[in-house]
Symmetry: C2
């Protein structure tokens, strides 16, 4: 069995391909970007419910985790988490610019992930131990989880969030 077997030959054997998982993730990231866009500027950094963090902090967590994970996902060389590469955004425009930079970064790193890597057990950031597929799903799930919370914030602000099934590819 060759590692270079084309997708058409593998199709009966696989559940999801790397390219399909990337499209799945980027579709979710497109939806989250749409939520940031419709979120009222005056509430993005401050509005909260139930003692939770404001939308800006939920989004920053999601953004930083993706940003800082890609090198480790590809190579196993993990930086310490929370050494952000750039200053904390203070406007929605800055957040969207960071979002778009990370979109490109994910695409650029994704093609470098060796196929055998997805089943390798690693310790992300020296903390989270499991196969790489499991860690990538955690990143995606964590984004869905926090975005779902931001949907409630938006609804209580009287703003209609984007449709959950709308997954624009950026």
């Amino acid at each position: 069995m060759e590692t270079t077997a084309p997708f058409s030959q593998m199709k009966d054997q696989i559940l999801i391909s790397p390219q399909q998982l990337l499209a799945h993730w980027q579709g979710h990231r497109g939806l989250t970007r749409g939520l940031i866009e419709v979120y009222p500027d005056e509430h993005f950094f401050s509005y909260t419910l139930g003692g939770m963090r404001p939308c800006s902090a939920l989004i920053d967590e999601v953004l930083q985790m993706a940003d800082q994970s890609m090198q480790g996902v590809v190579s196993g060389d993990w930086p310490s988490f929370s050494e952000g590469e750039e200053p904390q955004a203070t406007t929605k425009e800055q957040v969207l610019a960071q979002w778009d930079r990370v979109t490109e970064k994910i695409n650029a790193y994704w093609s470098q992930i060796p196929h055998s890597r997805f089943q390798e057990v690693d310790k992300a950031f020296g903390l989270y131990e499991g196969p790489i597929y499991w860690f990538l799903l955690y990143l995606i799930d964590n984004e869905i989880h926090h975005r779902g919370q931001a949907y409630v914030y938006l609804r209580t602000l009287g703003v209609e969030p984007p449709a959950f099934w709308d997954r624009p590819q950026l």
Copy 2:
């Protein structure tokens, strides 16, 4: 290439195995079950924020979609959605009993899914068109999305939700 190649031989070729996706889903379902358990009885069917549905309705949607999907996922024979098999639950205990029944149903059907099925394009319930892997991820993502919303409900009720990373296998 044999369709019966053992997992160890396929490991470098796959991103995630059917058994791993099942464990991923059931781990999320275990977390959602934990959320239902800690949700105050007196608020489960009534408390809302922002004009949204109460927790009971969010959970019922997630539960019904899983329940009614498995036959179609396995065979391509889809029932019409919303023909619930049993009366709407009116107590949390009934919801938990339904949840546990669906947990067993998913496990029972999962082992019957032909491996080639995950990449087949189908139209779930005659409505949602895409590969079966995509539809299964939609079910999982929709659960994470609505559970995230229920986390906010709980926080505003002063109740600590279960930890997001806690994924008990039922």
